[in-house]
Symmetry: C2
Subunit: 93 residues, 2 copies
């Protein structure tokens, strides 16, 4: 059984990054995110309204694997990430 | 389209509530929670490991309807509840 995690990601663009570079990173980020969603690494993801932030349910064999997946995101250097491991609730049994 | 909400619930048992009363409330709470899960009011729910807390994805037509659903929980008087409305993320389009 895989583990699930509640992951909140806040994207913070530094003022020093030029538009063209930022757009390129965001394009690669979108492609990677769609790939993760298709592969089930991201189970579900939502936008926090009015922000650049998102919250999602991620699936991984371990916290170490999750760390690798998050670290591989193209926009990772510009992210603040908060991870909450999730356990089974009796309603889901 | 219904709205989705990230809901975190922390259950805090007051020292003044006798065991029998607490057990009765918890039994009614479990029944209601299973009903909400079956009905899709609770889309998914997880335990925060090591705590009496849970985090879940809830579905409701509006924040007011969600409020009514949460307020109707038998253990509601013993809950601290945090609600985050969720918007569509481009990966989910």
């Amino acid at each position: 059984m895989t583990n699930e995690y509640l992951v909140r990601i806040d994207v913070e663009r530094p003022a020093t990054v030029p538009d063209a570079e930022w757009d390129a990173v965001m394009a690669r980020e979108a492609e990677r995110a769609r790939g993760y969603r298709r592969a089930g690494v991201i189970v579900r993801i939502w936008r926090i309204p009015g922000t650049r932030s998102n919250v999602g349910i991620w699936s991984a064999a371990s916290a170490s694997e999750l760390h690798d997946k998050l670290s591989a995101l193209p926009a990772h250097p510009y992210m603040k990430i908060d991870v909450q491991p999730l356990a089974q609730h009796y309603v889901e049994l």
